[in-house]
């Protein structure tokens, strides 16, 4: 697309950004050509001279004590250069996040899930490494295991950690359990609320653990030198996180490690932690050679992710006029083998799209013998929304109100209290509801035999730390270096904001993701934060540069800097006595006016704007086989401001598609002996393209006042509504409400058959 076309496309969607020259346009992403041409370099693509291949041996048991590990046979195998076990790593503290990370990377005395890393080998070839790893003799003493929430919470459950005592319970329990924490949020008096309600609906819901399903398995190459320094090439959502986490696991100082970000083939939250880098680093140190580790798909499913399954009990009271007054929720979330905060997040989200006088929300984080949770787009919110928005749908049906109107009637606005404490800042939920209500889709007549479902979803979004360096080159171009891996088009967004600030054609800006030694500390690309927070750093650096450019023009013109304005990429002399100086003219002459121009900004971004999405779907259900077909789907989402509308739409569509997969077919299937039966994309069914209609998008723009361009962040909330949207649509199509996911053909047919008899 040429510059002119790009500019001409301003406002075809996301047109709230009117008045901007670049923000809101759709240039081809700077990294696009390399990606479609297969030239982009992912971590697994790197090969170094003398490089070895690492292979990790994983536990075949869900819960066992490691009695002994004998590596002697493996060490004698051909091609083997190094072997490591948990004993080669520093001792982990008795509890806490550091222990959880260290013991996830490699098991110490106990394996806590099938797939838990136990030992590793580096050898000259992949085959030699695998053969040697399989020759390591591990003696296990099997322990009883628990795979689901109900079993793990039972009084007689086998306990994973004998030093885990439930937090949030008074008095503190004297016995350890699998319940890591209890979280409560409350307001008003729920019993009074239910007594005053005309309608009370009480239901129980369950969702299954799902994987983020990124196409690129985790991969890294680590090269350690004799001075004890390591260079890591890795695919991750944050290379500074890779540096600090690897240092933590190895007990190293962070300054020993440099991390070079590889291109990332999908993360969705799943690459906000590490699994393999410290193992490769230790193997490389022992062998004195670079070591590459690439996980297999099976390893990815058995040992990374997932997003947790949950059980949620909802009791909601409403008046006959559709006012929802009261909600009581009980939530229990799987945490995997180590404690996390899944239930706490679920508690914060579960009723956030509604104003309530009375609420009592109680959540339980539960450990069990599965891999430890890691983030997945709006973690914990989808299951919570599934429960609440299914019940809200029933309320709308009972009071005879349109489900969108009912949601508008109960919609929070700026200044209302959130369920978890603070007041809502400016939010766009009402605008999203209205956008769906007014959409072609919602206004269209529902085709015969189909069902329609709607739901809304909330996600916090976050700020955190970001850095950016912007250098102006002598030919009038700019290089924008940030520390945020680009997982959703953020390079293009950074370039657009820089273009807007500097008045420079976006194609003259080269956005770069810099390694840990060329750019300032930057937190992980998570919480929909990159365009928001790292974008703020880019804008701040550009504003610094504009000051410098004005000073250079003032120096050239020998005038007061106050007389110089920066207009459309040129320094303009206010009194009009000088011809404007373009950015290229100033940078070309920079050596004579004080040297090269560059600026750096590092900040903690405050004021992340909460995100909402409202979605509608039409489905048909094969009443004889239980197959659900998505016929039409529309999503509205508040982007704040869409910097690059195409990539905003891409995020919206991607979230919806992953949510549809979660709702319809995705689930971990464990055998009774604790092994995952579907560790591959054949039987772990993410949607394929032909399963889906075009996901129609409607970008809503209620600008976030805390960001210079109004950005909220768009990466996550899109996955929240699809679970209840699909359940509500299936209920509308069949008259049967299913409260257990996934809505797979056997489950739907079973429910339809049961309803018939």
């Amino acid at each position: 697309m040429s510059t002119t076309e790009a500019a001409a496309s301003t406002g075809t969607n996301g047109n709230g950004a009117s008045g901007y020259r670049w923000v809101g346009t759709r240039p081809v992403r700077h990294d696009g050509l390399d990606k479609v041409a297969g030239k982009a370099r992912y971590a697994a693509d790197l090969n170094l001279p003398g490089m070895l291949y690492g292979h990790i041996l994983r536990s075949p048991h869900p819960h066992a004590r490691i009695v002994s590990i004998d590596t002697s046979a493996a060490e004698a195998m051909p091609g083997v250069k190094a072997v490591v076990t948990g004993a080669d790593f520093p001792e982990a503290p008795p509890k806490g996040a550091t222990r959880n990370l260290m013991c996830t990377v490699i098991a110490r005395d106990t394996v806590l899930y099938s797939g838990h890393a136990v030992a590793a080998v580096a050898a000259s070839t992949r085959r030699e490494a695998k053969a040697a790893a399989e020759a390591i003799e591990v003696t296990y003493e099997l322990l009883p295991h628990v795979l689901n929430i109900s079993d793990a919470m039972a009084d007689d459950a086998p306990v994973l950690h004998d030093n885990l005592f439930t937090r949030g319970v008074e008095p503190r329990p004297t016995e350890p359990s699998n319940i890591a924490a209890r979280t409560v949020y409350e307001r008003g008096d729920v019993e009074q609320g239910f007594a005053e309600a005309d309608i009370v609906i009480e239901r129980e819901f369950s969702t299954q653990a799902v994987h983020q399903g990124y196409i690129e398995p985790h991969a890294c190459v680590v090269d350690c030198d004799q001075e004890g320094k390591a260079v890591i090439w890795a695919s991750s959502q944050g290379h500074f996180m890779v540096r600090s986490s690897t240092a933590t696991v190895l007990g190293w100082d962070t300054s020993r490690i440099k991390v070079i970000p590889a291109e990332i083939g999908g993360g969705f939250g799943g690459k906000t932690t590490i699994y393999i880098e410290p193992v490769a680093a230790l193997l490389s140190t022992k062998a004195g050679r670079p070591v590459k580790i690439v996980m297999s798909r099976e390893d990815v499913f058995r040992a990374t992710g997932p997003a947790p399954g949950a059980i949620i009990k909802m009791k909601v009271g409403a008046r006959n006029d559709g006012t929802i007054t009261t909600a009581k929720a009980w939530l229990a979330y799987e945490n995997g083998a180590f404690q996390g905060i899944a239930a706490m997040l679920g508690c914060m989200c579960v009723v956030s799209a509604y104003t309530l006088d009375h609420l009592y929300v109680e959540g339980f984080d539960v450990v069990l013998n599965r891999p430890v949770n890691v983030a997945y787009r709006a973690p914990s919110a989808p299951a919570a929304a599934f429960a609440m928005d299914s019940v809200v749908d029933e309320i709308a049906e009972r009071v005879g109100m349109d489900p969108i109107d009912l949601r508008i009637h109960n919609c929070p606005s700026q200044g209302d209290p959130t369920p978890y404490g603070p007041k809502w800042p400016m939010i766009g939920l009402r605008e999203c509801l209205e956008a769906i209500r007014d959409s072609d889709h919602y206004q269209s007549e529902l085709p015969e035999g189909q069902g329609r479902g709607v739901a809304s979803g909330f996600w916090f979004n976050i700020g955190e730390a970001s850095s950016a360096t912007v250098n102006l080159n002598e030919n009038g171009t700019a290089t924008v270096i940030t520390g945020s891996p680009d997982i959703g088009g953020s390079r293009a967004s950074m370039a657009l904001m820089a273009a807007e600030e500097l008045g420079l054609d976006v194609h003259l800006i080269q956005p770069v993701v810099g390694d840990t030694e060329v750019v300032g500390f930057t937190d992980v690309t998570e919480g929909s934060r990159a365009t928001f927070a790292t974008g703020m750093a880019v804008v701040e650096a550009c504003r610094d540069l504009k000051e410098q450019l004005r000073k250079r023009a003032a120096k050239t013109w020998d005038c007061d800097v106050e007389e110089v304005e920066w207009v459309d990429g040129s320094a303009v002399h206010g009194p009009g006595e000088q011809e404007p100086l373009t950015l290229a003219a100033i940078t070309g002459n920079a050596k004579r006016t004080g040297g090269p121009l560059g600026a750096t900004a590092s900040l903690n971004a405050r004021g992340a704007g909460p995100a909402f999405s409202v979605q509608v779907a039409d489905v048909s259900v094969d009443q004889e086989t239980g197959r659900v077909t998505v016929e039409r789907y529309t999503t509205a989402q508040d982007a704040g401001t869409a910097i690059h509308p195409s990539y905003v739409e891409g995020q919206m569509q991607g979230g919806v598609v992953q949510g549809i997969g979660w709702a319809l077919n995705e689930e971990y299937i464990y055998s009774d002996d604790g092994n995952l039966e579907n560790p591959g994309f054949l039987d772990y069914r993410i949607p394929v393209a032909s399963d889906l209609p075009m996901i129609e998008t409607c970008i809503v723009e209620v600008p976030n006042p805390s960001h210079p361009y109004g950005v909220r962040g768009v990466g996550e909330v899109g996955i929240v509504p699809p679970l209840p949207v699909m359940a509500n649509a299936v209920a509308d199509a069949t008259g049967v409400r299913i409260s257990d996911l996934p809505l797979s053909p056997p489950r739907v047919l079973e429910a339809l058959t049961a309803a018939e008899s």
């Binding site: 004889e624 039987d683 053909p745 056997p746 047919l749």
Partner: protein
Amino acid sequence: MKYAAPTTIDEARTLLAGDADAIVFAGATDVVPQMRAGRPEPSMVIDLKKIDRLMSVSLDGDTWQVGAAAPSSALTSNAAFAADFPGLAEAAGLIGSDQIQNRSSLGGNLCNASPAADSVPALVVNDAVAVIAGADGERRVPVADVVTGPGQTSLAHDEIVVCFELARPAGRTSDAYLRLIPRTEMDIAVVGAGVRLTLDDSGSVSAASVALGAVAPTVVRVPAAEAALVGSSLDDASLAAAAAAASDACSPIDDKRGTISYRRQVAGVLTRRAAGIAADRIRTRNGQNGVS
């Protein structure tokens, strides 16, 4: 692991006979994923795609000769073949994805001996005969007799399926194949149903074949369903009887892809629907009531 690409059947057989651990492959669309999933590597893999006869698809008089290693896409893109066996062509077009279908073959789909193989019920209802080359020359075996259990065939180690012989259907005959998968493609049948019907001048069924996949250790032919259809005008009662017979003929397992009760129920539904499609094809081709 050695790789061999013989250009003649004899050469392939000699290689196979000389190495008890060698295997043959056509598309390798099952073998490669199986090895990735931990199947031990054989000493040698013998690629059959360089042998002309195994790759050709031709009409010889009234008999189609389909090379055992010919790619699925050679069948789905062959209009004359697809007109004679629309159900079989459909089944070949359901295996994997477009890219897979440029490699996958009927011979491989049969000899992999998965109970869920899509093309096998469609071959069985069309009375396909497998031509098998062995030490004593060639023998002809009904496709239904090749697979003896999951992963097991009646072939000797040094035997190779060369091609399939399919007699062109008589005038008022057609077939259909349906499968249930949770997705729309890139999946394995939870249940598959192949049906071939012949209608007489009055539109009644004069002959019927019904075969089910993924509901038993091997593909199941369902004589009771065939009996329910023959002589009927495909009225609701006959179709319901055929569906019930199909459900009864299932001896499925509970696994990650489906439950016993789900597979039984859906086997009946797909049998009824496939019969309807086969009949519609005859009627559409020959005018109403199947009268030409």
